[in-house]
Symmetry: C2
Subunit: 279 residues, 2 copies
């Protein structure tokens, strides 16, 4: 593990429902651009190969692939090996149990390090996907310790705590944030939430959203890389395709001190938070 800053990129790319080869090509191109610009950790959107607005569960299933040997993880593993990257991105996973999951993978030059299944499903996702039921993984990579959550997952602070407490220095959040009205002068609330999640855990968070209207649904954009102070180091992106970069000294996230006598993790009052669970 190095203490040197590493360049992190979030790729806000245009995706299309039901065009996995085309979407993988778009992702491949974006990864090559950001790697050429020095990025070594690359975050791609949720459900990058499949797209998001499935007409039916059968359509989602038809676009799902197995984690082992599937074309998307194979592609990303190849890119990671060729360009010495860590890539985190989302895909529709066909589980060995026959269920379909909204998943994300962390790959590095050695191949896939771990697969995570989204535990908090948004809206019609519940018709297409089984929710995950295991804790989010943290991968110890040559660039730092990297965790992953997917989109709506990150809106549950209890869930964000899990990878943070497991030592994630950078949390990657592949996302597809459907567009909502944002009041003038405000950042989208989903972006604000990412910043606050970084602040609450003194870790870096890189969220990559998507673009491309899909069956009438458009997207917030707003891809952002937040530092451990909760401030945006890059982004928030607009609503169009955009590649954002931040130089991140991930070692800063190893200390949870937020003042000479305070620590965002040690100061938690676990004696008070969940007495009902201890009875």
């Amino acid at each position: 593990m190095t203490n040197l800053p590493v360049r992190v990129a979030a790729c806000q790319i245009e995706l299309r429902i039901g065009e996995p080869d085309r979407n993988r090509a778009v992702a491949d191109a974006a990864v090559r651009v950001v790697a050429g610009n020095g990025a070594r950790i690359v975050v791609l959107p949720e459900l990058t190969p499949s797209g998001y607005v499935f007409a039916t569960a059968a359509e989602a299933r038809s676009l799902a692939e197995q984690a082992a040997g599937g074309p998307t993880i194979a592609q990303w593993s190849g890119l990671a090996a060729e360009l010495d990257l860590v890539i985190v991105g989302g895909f529709a996973e066909l589980g060995a149990d026959g269920a379909v999951y909204n998943s994300a993978v962390i790959v590095d030059r050695t191949g896939p390090r771990c697969v995570y299944r989204k535990a908090h499903l948004w809206d019609a996702e519940a018709d297409c996907f089984e929710p995950g039921d295991t804790a989010p993984p943290v991968a110890d990579t040559r660039y730092g310790r990297i965790g992953v959550l997917i989109c709506y997952d990150a809106e549950f602070p209890e869930w964000v705590r899990q990878p943070a407490l497991a030592g994630a220095e950078l949390l990657a959040v592949p996302t597809n944030w459907p567009a909502e009205l944002v009041p003038p002068g405000e950042r989208p609330n989903v972006v604000v939430n990412i910043q606050a999640a970084a602040f609450a855990n003194r870790m870096f968070i890189a969220a990559a959203c998507r673009t491309g209207t899909e069956r009438g649904v458009s997207w917030t954009g707003g891809s952002v890389i937040a530092g451990p102070d909760g401030y945006a180091l890059a982004g928030p992106a607009g609503t169009g395709p955009e590649l954002i970069y931040a130089q991140c000294d991930l070692s800063l996230a190893r200390s949870k001190a937020n003042g000479p006598r305070n620590d965002v993790h040690a100061d938690r009052r676990l004696d008070l938070y969940a007495p009902g669970l201890r009875a």
Copy 2:
């Protein structure tokens, strides 16, 4: 309980260490102004009568007052009765146990409804105060259900959940945010955190900070009233004295639905968050 919108005010006032009579007069004047402008729920800063930057624990103790019969709660209760308000503000409390607490009170026209003791102490507060060890209260008032946390407390999402789950429609947060460097174009991270806490729980939050450099310490300001979407309805204030107002339909916070099929509380995966606590 009414469903009509109620005007909420956060009073960012100038306070001085060790001048409780003067500080109470400043608070009295601010409350009268905002009440005259239609506010019915009024939030005052943390440690309003005493000031914050104590030289010694003995000084903090000398500025503490008992909740029952103390001059500050008496004053605020009088104002609440006279002007038909709910007032939430912070004060240094001398407990019946002889300990000194960083506390806040909710008063309405019937007098004090509940006293809360800050559970997460910041920096040198630990030299002056005992931490509280009870859950934050929620008062059912004629204007809605109102909860209270104090400053650093609100940076622990687990703790914010407690009043939200107990039905708080508006969380009042008396605060003294010490000034920190804020990058250009960014809102202070403490403000972002308040917005995200509102978003995570679909409740209103009104945070009132202070002004007035005190023994070399200045303040963020940034008083803000956030709606259940996480957007600022009023503020964030600047660094000077400022009274901010928002018309809040508190009944909106009774539904936790954030979409046709989602709910920020019901969607929590309690089966996953704290397995270690259940063993």
